[in-house]
Subunit: 548 residues, 2 copies
């Protein structure tokens, strides 16, 4: 069997290694356009920032090591320019020699990844306007920052790559402005959860120009102007364009393979394309979203690696299946960790799923043990079925742990109520006896069993401020004085029982506290004294961060 | 409804608070023998060690705060001395006044916990021989170490509490010896995994006297002698007895409640005892082990808290059920974290479950990003069904994350193969594109699909060393020279294909490398050239740590 692999990184290289493990006798050729294979895409921003110091760290394997260990014929700086499925051949352009040749295959695996989305804007090819995908891109940017010592940078786009680059540039002393059309950074989060990210970026001096549209770039002496639709241009020494990625699939398209959404390659669960003996994996393919069942593009390394292994199994005569991605992701941002899994509210609404949610601020570990940090956690579940849909967390320590637990629960198709039963490991330096994930389960159980009702930060302005409702803040007098919602009257929780007679039982009561716990307790109390009551999800602290 | 609760800490206090949330009108009395309620048992060793500095940090609630917030009538320093189920009364002894009185109840909840196991040894009541359960015990030990400045301590028992105390005493400059009959510390781990813990303890100067039986204690001037069955007595300034805990259930026994194993209280899934209107939770009760389905004692705070909440629901007319504990635990030991969930090999053997296992040493996060640490991970699964049974991990960063993911997978009754599909969050500072948990799944899949066979460290000495088998070490020459298994010949993996003709195809091949990865690759290669091959699980590094 002769296997040809197009693209030699996450999906391609994983697949190549697995094919060799499965079939010692196969001929395996891996063709890569750039000068490097098996490189750590995800580490590239950290090399620019000097966190990863050694260029060799960026590649996990080299063409030589692939040969020595796996007898894989790796051809770098060669581009596959055409596929001829009828003949089972590909055309290869050797970039250095200029030679063009044909290679036959029995099985072809496409792992070409995705390329930075580059809109057709004037000046986009300016040499101070960078994109980041390959090792070459990285070395180019690194050389630029070392030689030119830029003082200012504009990052167009506030997704994973933009934000990681922002952190790395800031740590090098560069003054960074992020500009993008969407009004929030980090699309996998809902806007409310993204507020914590915005705050962290600003705390580190990053200027955010959200809701602004870049219309082009222009050289201006030694700097570059980023032109905006409705504002003055931004001056900077460099620009990074990171507004998203687009499947790198012109080859597949020209070969007549069936395409999926946004130009991706359509594949089945076995990672087979519409054409026999051609497989595809990674950022280039359309996947089924594990939660919605809808088609989706999810450009992450975990799925690419797993799909590569699955395609290898099937290429070698096995029957492995990819059951979909749920988009679990994590991002380090200075002192913050921002994570998500499954779907967020925007996606649930788009998919017309009836959902509800809880928001909480649990501590990363027992508060009596030094160093506990609070995290903001949002968990979404489907009404009726109570199936878990997704979660988002922003905080410090232990955030990645909780999202992986929730990701596993979602994968297991657990209901939100089953979170209450998770038997998680506890000692004071690591967690609380009721882990944050258990706590989310308790809260959902309380909601769904009708023990409490909640209202949300975006509903605060629509509350009845005309006296027809009681608006209650149950924090301490001291907390209340430091800031509170207009129109809310303060009765501290511990005093509430003595003041019940001052409240009108015929009026609905809206309660708030700092994070939602005390207002929940107040609601339980009031409900049992005959009041109709609901409390502010996430409390005053969530309201404050989100509306700031 | 009048509810009386015996014991005011993890199970009792959680239940009390939940009962109030469910029923504002219930009368709730919580009776506690010690002087404190709602105390952080799990934090006590850290107060002795000065990590937790403020005594107030040790109690999450006080009798006063319980009254203010929950209108719970908390009575500390009062001991319940008898239950009269026929009359629905209890007898209470107020320890300070000496008063004895009767209290009626509609519902009674027993949450008396477990007490340190104190064997009937001579000298056990010596005032330099301590046990640790309550805040009072803690203050007593703290005062002793502050006043007497002990230089040496003997800890009898190497479970969670003994090891946490060892760490805290060492950090204070005390020279610590741990002595116990079992030949390994930390029973939830198998002996091989415990080797890492032994190494860490020794690295921090803790002397381990394993396999030694304490026969008594004797005062000797200002120090105490710990008498051993077969060795000279140990001199020290203090002794902590922490050989385990025993359900504190004499009350229940005397009241005629049905008992479970080792004197625990038998309860059903609703946490009801054999007597109507009497519930029991926490360390005092027998639980169903979630993995084996057998009865078990699992003395951990997570289950106690959850059971307290479940009992509260049922006391208030609900129908909540506890579906068993799986013993997920985590322990900080100097720079190490040691964790486990589900069952270990000893337990699987005892339960006569046919199991297999993998051992691996994955990195906590991408190795090219600074700071990655490797962890030792063992995952057990049932043969045939491939159901996950348990896992143990010892390492640094990210160990608690992986055990919680595995605990969740076990709870969801996932098979080991489903670990390959877990969609976990990845970025270089947090994980690898193939998370350690995925990796364990891949390895199990390879084993179960017959792609590879393994042998274990304890089988090394039984290999055929008579020339009837090929014993192969596929590490580099440099690694081999630094230490290798006797009788193993070195052919580095990358050279193996050129040396195949030197190997006898009729002889079985046993391969080892450093951690198991390269020997797996060698086995795949050799198998396809017609050899019968198996590889050493965990490799030379595991063998070395375990047999040292
Ligand atoms: C800066 C950066 C940071 C990232 N951080 C993370 C992260 O933290 N976590 C995460 O999960 N994901 C991250 N990702 C995404 C992750 O790297 C990708 O999801 C993953 O690499 C996709 O794998 P792939 O094999 O599909 O494509 P790639 O890894 O991109 O590999 C495709 C390769 O194919 C080559 N190629 C394309 N067309 C041809 C052709 N015609 N002929 C020959 N070769 C061709 C390309 O040169 C490329 O090297 C990051 C990506 C980038 C760029
Ligand atoms: C030092 C130490 C460290 C620990 N570390 C951890 C850890 O890191 N992680 C973990 O999960 N677990 C840990 N545990 C175990 C955990 O604390 C227990 O599992 C949990 O507290 C059990 O809860 P419980 O309510 O059953 O009993 P307890 O919390 O022990 O409470 C029982 C209370 O009942 C009182 N009582 C008993 N009999 C009577 C009576 N007749 N009348 C009145 N009062 C009575 C006792 O005084 C006691 O205060 C630790 C325990 C100790 C002692
Ligand atoms: C480096 C690369 C070629 C590795 O591919 P790989 O060989 O499949 O992956 P690993 O080295 O992690 O090894 C995994 C294999 O070793 C096995 N393994 C791991 N540890 C083992 C152990 N201790 N004992 C036995 N087997 C072990 C696994 O089961 C798996 O084998 P399988 O797939 O046949 O089941 C590929 O992942 C790559 O190019 N990565 C870089 C690019 C990238 O991923 N970028 C995006 C992220 S930055
Ligand atoms: C302190 C103690 C009394 C707390 O009991 P508790 O009130 O049940 O627990 P918490 O304060 O964590 O609150 C949990 C409740 O608040 C709710 N909650 C938490 N955060 C919330 C939020 N942001 N919004 C709304 N509700 C919230 C939970 O749903 C849960 O309510 P429920 O049980 O009615 O569903 C008890 O845990 C205790 O005594 N602990 C110390 C002893 C101990 O556990 N020792 C062993 C470990 S060291």
């Amino acid at each position: 069997m002769k296997v040809v692999i197009v693209g030699g990184v996450a999906g391609g290289a994983s697949s190549a290694a697995r094919i060799r493990r499965l079939d010692e006798h196969a001929q395996i050729i891996m063709i890569e356009r750039s000068g490097y294979v098996s490189y750590a895409n995800c580490g590239l921003p950290y090399y620019v920032g000097g966190v990863i110091k050694d260029q060799e760290e960026l590649t996990l394997q080299t063409p030589e090591s692939f040969w020595d260990r796996f007898r894989i014929d790796v051809r770098v700086r060669q581009e596959v320019t055409a596929i001829n499925p009828a003949e089972k051949t590909i055309t290869v352009h050797a970039l250095d020699s200029g030679k063009i040749y044909t290679e036959t295959y029995d099985k072809l695996l496409l792992a070409p990844g995705a390329k930075p989305t580059v809109p057709a804007l004037s000046g986009v090819s300016n040499k101070r306007v960078f994109t980041l995908r390959t090792v070459e891109d990285t070395l180019r940017i690194r050389r630029f920052v070392e030689d030119q010592k830029p003082k200012t940078a504009v990052l167009a786009g506030g997704g994973f790559i933009g934000l990681e680059m922002a952190e790395n540039l800031v740590e090098m002393g560069v003054s960074v402005t992020i500009v993008q059309r969407p009004k929030q950074l980090l699309a996998p989060l809902d806007a409310d959860m993204a507020s914590f990210v915005h705050a962290e970026m600003r705390r580190h001096g990053v200027a955010l120009r959200l809701g602004e549209t870049v219309t082009g770039f222009r050289q201006d002496g030694d700097s570059v102007l980023t032109l905006l639709e409705e504002s003055e241009p931004l001056h900077s020494d460099m620009v990074l364009l990171a507004i998203g990625v687009t499947p790198d699939t012109h080859l597949a398209k020209e070969a007549g393979l069936k395409l999926g959404i946004r130009g991706s390659i359509a594949v089945n669960e076995r990672m087979e394309t519409s054409v026999p003996d051609i497989y595809a994996v990674g950022d280039a393919v359309e996947v089924t979203h594990f939660v919605t069942g809808q088609k989706a593009l999810i450009s992450l390394a975990g799925p690419a690696n797993k799909q590569g292994r699955i395609a290898a199994d099937n290429i070698c005569g096995g029957n492995s299946r990819f059951h979909g991605s749920q988009g679990s992701s994590v991002l380090k941002l200075f002192g913050l960790t921002a994570v998500s899994t499954g779907i967020n509210e925007k996606a649930a609404q788009a998919a017309e799923i009836a959902y509800d949610k809880v928001v909480l601020f649990p501590a990363s570990h027992a508060t009596y043990y030094p160093g506990a940090q609070s995290m903001a956690m949002k968990v979404l579940y489907e009404k009726e079925s109570l199936r878990l849909l997704g979660a988002q967390i922003v905080g410090g320590e232990g955030v990645d742990k909780r999202i992986d637990v929730l990701a596993t629960a979602i994968r297991a198709k657990m209901t939100a109520l089953e979170l209450t039963e998770l038997d998680l490991s506890y000692a004071p330096p690591y967690s609380s006896a009721k882990d944050p994930v258990n706590m989310a389960g308790f809260m959902i159980e309380d909601l769904e069993s009708g023990k409490v009702r909640q209202f949300h930060w975006n509903e605060v302005e629509d509350l009845p401020y005309d006296g027809s409702a009681t608006l209650l803040d149950v924090r301490t007098a001291w907390e209340y004085q430091r800031g509170h919602l207009d129109g809310f009257r303060n009765i501290p929780l511990d005093d509430l029982r003595e003041h019940l007679d001052e409240l009108d039982r015929d009026k609905p009561v809206y309660v708030n506290c700092q994070t939602g716990l005390r207002s929940y307790l107040a609601c339980r109390l009031l409900t049992q004294y005959g009041f109709t009551c609901s409390h502010l999800s996430g409390g005053y602290s969530f309201y404050q961060v989100v509306t700031k």
